[in-house]
Structures are given as C-alpha cells and as structure tokens.
Symmetry: C2
Subunit: 389 residues, 2 copies
C-alpha cells in the first residue's frame, strides 16, 4: 500500500491521478490532497478519498474548506508553508507534484530534501531549479519519476540501460493546433483557438504552451536535468499523431521509443506504480487508428518560444527561470486577451535580455530572478496595444 | 576480451559479424570459424582473423581447406560432429549461431548444453526444437541473445521490465517485395524477383522467406520460445519502411519499440556486446528519411505461408518442425525454378497434413519428423508441372 500526497488534486493531472487511485484501492491510499482555489472539488475529493489532511494553499479559501469538512476526520491546513510540511510526513510515501507553474517548486524541493519519492508533473520545478533539485535528490536518495508523457516515455526507454549508452533523447511534439501556420496567421489567433489541442486534454496553461511550442522547450530543459544530459543531447521532432511519446537514441545507433494512446492516466499510473506496470482496462493502442505516423522538423523561426527555450537551456544559470516566469505572465495575459500570440515571444525575449544573468544561482537567486522577470514581463504586457485598448 | 565461435562465418550474418569484430579488436577475438562450402572465403577469413580452429562441415571440402591453411597456426576440422565439440571448448565465450536452416540445430544445442552464451541468428533452432532448447538453457544457465532484428528489438524493449508485464509482442514485417499483390500475380513470380528485398540485404533462403512471409511466421514461433510467450501473445503488423523493428505491448497499455536503420550489424553487435552498447560510426537514423511510417494488417489469405506458420505454432508438437522442413525444401525448389510461388504453400500444407503428429517430441522425434517432411515435400516438388517440365 503506497500512501500518496497529491499536490494540485483538482487540476487535470490531479483528478486523473485520483481515477488511478480509485482503480487500485488495494495499492494506493490518499494521505494528503492539496488545491489552490477550487474548493468545491477539493471538498468533494476529501469526502470521497478520506485523506488524513487537505491543504488549501490560497489562505482566503481556508475557512470555506475548514467549515465544509468539520464533520470529517481530516486535518485542514492553509498556505504554501503547510504544503512544504505535509510532504515530509512519515506517512507520505509518494508525492505527486501536479501544481502548475513556479508555485510547485517549494513543496517539491521540500519533498526532495526529505528523500521522498516524487511523481513529477510540475515541470517548472526542473526548468527553474533543475540543478539544485537534482543535486539534492542525489544527496537524499529522492527518486523522481516523470509524469509528463514525453519524459515518462524516455524513462521507460531507459530502464535496464546504462546512462553512458545514451547518445541523445528526442522529444516528440504534436506541433499543436497551429502546426504549419506562419506569423501572419498567428498574429490573429485567440486563446479560444489555442485551447483546442488536437490530441491531448490538458489544463489551460499547458495547452497554450503546446500551441506556442514553449511546452516542448520547457520539456527540453526538464529532460536535461531529469536524465543528466548535455544540451547537445536533446532534440525535438514534430509528430502530429502523438502516438510515439519520445525516443532515446543510443551510442550504438539503436533507437527505443515508447508509444501509446494519448491518455495521461498511463504515465501517471506508471509513475505511481514504477517499477511495476499495473494491468488496466484502458483502451489499447490500435494500429488501424495510427496507420500513418509522420515526423518533421519543428519550425523554430515561426514558433519562437521553442527557440527561446532552447537558447535559455544553452545559456543556463538563471535564464530558464527568467524564461519560465516571463512565459507564465505572457500565457496569463494571452488567456485574458491582453497580448497577442506573437507578442508572447517578444515579451519573453525582452525579459530574458533584461534580467541580470546569474551563472550559479541559489534558491534565493531563483526566487529573485523569478520575481524580477514577472515584474518586467508585466510591464511589457501593459504596453501591448491589446492591453491598452 | 570475448572469444567467439562464428558458425556460418561465410554467410551474410557471419561476414557482418566479422566486420563488427574488426571494429572492436580490443573486445572480441575469433576463436573458431566454421563454414559449409565457401572454402575460398573461409580460408581468407582464417588468414585474416587467425582463429584457433576452423571447421568445414562439408567433409568433401576438408582437404582443400587443410592444405590451404597448412602454414597457418590453425586447427582444421571436418564435419558436423566437430562443430558440436568446438562450441563446448573452454576457450569459447560466445557462439554466434549463423548457420542457415535445420543444420544449425545440433551445434547450437550442444552449446546450450554446455551452458554457453549464444548469439542466435539461426531461427530454425527455436522454430524446430524451441521447447527442448529453452528448457535445457534454463537448466544450464545458457543465455540466448537473439540476432534477428525483430527479436533483438523485442529483447531490447524488455531489458529492465518484468516478464509478467508483457501483454503481447508485435513483430513488424516489411511485407516483402510482393506486398499488396494477389495470387494471380504471385503465380508468375520468379526467384529473381523474390530475391530483390526492398529493405534488407540478406541470404537467398531468408530473402525468399521474406517474400512469402514465411520468415515472419518462423519469427512468431521463434519469439514464442525465446520470450516464453503464449501463442495468443504474438502478433504481426506489416510496416513497409522497416524502421521500427518490433513492438512490445505491456499490461498497462504502454508500448515500447526499437527502431533503427535496416542494418544487421546493429543487432549482431548488440547480441555480441550485451548488456553493453558499443559506440560505433554506423549511419544514424534520420527522421527525414523515415518521415512517414505506415502500419497495416498482413494479408494472411494471399500469403498463406504466414497463416500456415501461425497454424503450426498453435498446433505445437512437431508441427513447426515439419513446417520448417517442408519450407526449406520448397524454397530450394523455388530457387531452382522447380516449383512456383504459390505451390510452396500447397506443398507445405500437404506435408503438415501427412507427417504424423507428435505432441511432445524428443530430439530424435524432431530429426525423424524433419527427415519425413523433407522426403514427402521432395516427392511433392517432383510432381510440380515446373519440375516435370
């Protein structure tokens, strides 16, 4: 029986993780649930899964949750600081980190520090502070299993292989809803278009990141830290059918790939159950449905966010942190129609140029760079013709 | 330093294995070379690689080889029986079994019996007597690493995985040069057409087997024994580009695949070096070259050899042995224009019906069934309009 802390339980990954738990009540038990603002769902989840504790990271919502659950045998905590405490509890075996964005970093780092096993869906943890997180994980023996479908694919391809046999990893990208489009089209794209991803059902932030290819850029940086790779060992190929979830190329020229239907429950289950594979009744891969798999180079010129992320990866230091912060700001602004699709890249690029470079940042440096980048990106958002309209 | 016995050193697999040895003189040394009739090449190989022994399995060619190598410090042996002795030598670490057909069985079994490590290219060993061979291997600790690209792919996908996590294996088939053709076309096909395989450069026997899809049928049976699978766990998908060399589907619905350029040196090197992967300068997989990968169901009705092999696998006992013997006879006859393409299946089917079924054959039973099947298949060949022409 593995006892889980699910951070971000009301989001897309969190709810699917709870489905996995429901399918295997003999294997998993929910010890902690946390959410930021969707109190209604959090309360319903707490009633259903009977965790030992729930954490509402948004202090303003604490009273609502506390009151609703007062007849339940559950502890209710408020705030980010509580989160960093509960993940260290003796009674927690696995932490599923499914909080979106920089906000997830502190609690995951606390879990790494405590030597916990982590199923990691929050990619910003590694994008922003991959060096610190992975170094600490090596010291404490914390094991990090990726939940992202691409990194889960790479992880699965690497079981039983030697690290020095890796030549490169090749992340597959669906190309998003605007694959093949050019800037003159993209300038008029609205959030509602971008939210219609062709293959995957995901949260709003990651869906926009998929449309801009920033998601793939963040994944490159995530892969670098997760698998201990050099920048040159990380590549991207566009594969619109999303059947192959990534490749590993080995030093003998052989490639391994992991494939499957695009369903996040698969990598979530894998991360929770590893090294076991749990039998399930998920729909099986159908070669008739995927009779034709295509692969093409990404268009770095049009999808500048991908080029900027790659640049940040090569530059290192606090640059990925700055990139990520500026991206979070621009994606929010784009969702609110305050900047257009192309301006997102402009703002990220300018923010990367503006914030002071730190070659070997501390945790505090990352937090400072993150705050600086957000401040500057917000200023740039305000100057957009759309924002001032 | 691993010391190799290369059985069938003058064939396609044997010569490519020697190329691998040449590329890694620090890792591999040739201890034994064997060939059946290509004495000229065998002599040249012996002079170049300086093995401790060479075996000429065709007794009639012994004197030629003995004389040619009299000034070399090499022992020369004749006959099949010598082969079963040298593979057991203390000085042999790995046996590469690359003899084509039933002829390879005795020597591989002797190596298994001696608990040796075997890189297995001779698929008939497992097709004919997989039950006996794998049982003996389990007893002696003999490790069998497949050289066939499909089985190598499956083997590579399975490293680090639990056996009980296998849901099924899916062998890829190029479909051969006559994919999409119907019987009215196939009846007029000549050996010269069939020898032009679209993707792989191989020996004549296996190239004809690829054209009839018998090769894939034999591989299904090989996979069954090699990976300890139930008949229902083995499937075939046609994939004309030969980029993906096979799939494993796991009980959680995830698939793993191994891919690479169609070059037999890759699986040969893997089998010799496992669990290491040796860096090499082979041409790398190029996504531009394989921009479009297609998958389709095999046509069991037209390519009856595949259906017959599958039937033999399910029937078990000595049936695969009979199938294999009849197939070896018909392929030879087809290469000599003594039967046509479609008659091959007729003869195999009739031979399978004719030879007495043995449910749990001994080694002697297999040899008897093999001889009976050959005798009967030869009779049927003689009745072909082409043979009597």
């Amino acid at each position: 029986m593995k006892r889980l802390a699910i951070l971000g339980s009301t989001g897309s990954i969190g709810t699917q993780a709870l489905d996995v738990v429901s399918s295997h009540p003999d294997l998993f038990r929910v010890e902690v649930l946390s959410a930021h603002s969707n109190t209604e769902l959090l309360i319903a989840q707490a009633r259903k899964y009977k965790p030992n504790a729930v954490v509402v990271t948004n202090d303003a919502k604490y009273e609502t949750v506390k009151k609703a659950l007062e007849s339940e045998p559950v502890k209710v905590f408020a705030g980010q600081a509580s989160l960093t405490e509960v993940v260290c509890w003796e009674s927690v075996d696995i932490i599923l980190g499914a909080i979106v964005g920089f906000a997830g970093l502190r609690s995951i780092y606390a879990a790494v520090d405590a030597g916990k096993r982590i199923a990691l869906a929050n990619k910003e943890t590694l994008v922003v502070a991959g060096d610190l997180v992975m170094q600490r994980a090596a010291e404490t023996g914390s094991v990090i299993i990726p939940v992202d479908s691409e990194h889960s694919a790479i992880f699965q391809c690497l079981v039983g292989e030697y690290h020095e046999a890796i030549e490169k990893v090749i992340l597959t990208a669906s190309g998003g809803p605007f694959r093949g489009k050019k800037p003159n089209f993209l300038v008029n794209v609205k959030a509602s278009h971008a939210l219609q991803h062709p293959n995957w059902t995901m949260g709003a932030k990651i869906t926009i990141d998929s449309a801009t290819l920033m998601n793939k850029g963040l994944e490159m940086i995530e892969a670098k830290w997760l698998f201990g790779l050099k920048n040159e060992q990380i590549d991207v190929i566009v594969h619109p059918q999303s059947a192959v979830h990534s490749f590993v190329q080995f030093t003998d020229g052989s490639l391994k790939a992991q494939a499957g239907i695009p369903d996040m429950k698969l990598p979530i289950q894998y991360a929770l159950a590893y090294p076991q594979r749990l039998p399930n009744t998920f729909k099986r891969y159908d070669f008739k449905e995927f009779a034709n798999l295509t692969f093409e180079e990404p268009d770095y010129k049009t999808f500048r966010n991908l080029a900027l992320a790659k640049e940040a990866m090569f530059k290192g230091g606090n640059t990925p942190c700055v990139l990520n912060a500026a991206n979070e700001v621009t994606v929010q602004a784009f969702l609110q129609n305050r900047v257009d699709f192309l301006e997102m890249s402009d703002i990220i690029e300018k923010t990367m140029a503006k914030v002071d470079f730190v070659a070997a940042p501390s945790f505090a440096d990352y937090e400072y760079s993150d705050a600086e980048a957000r401040k500057y990106a917000e200023e740039l958002v305000k100057q957009s013709p759309l924002a001032t309209h």
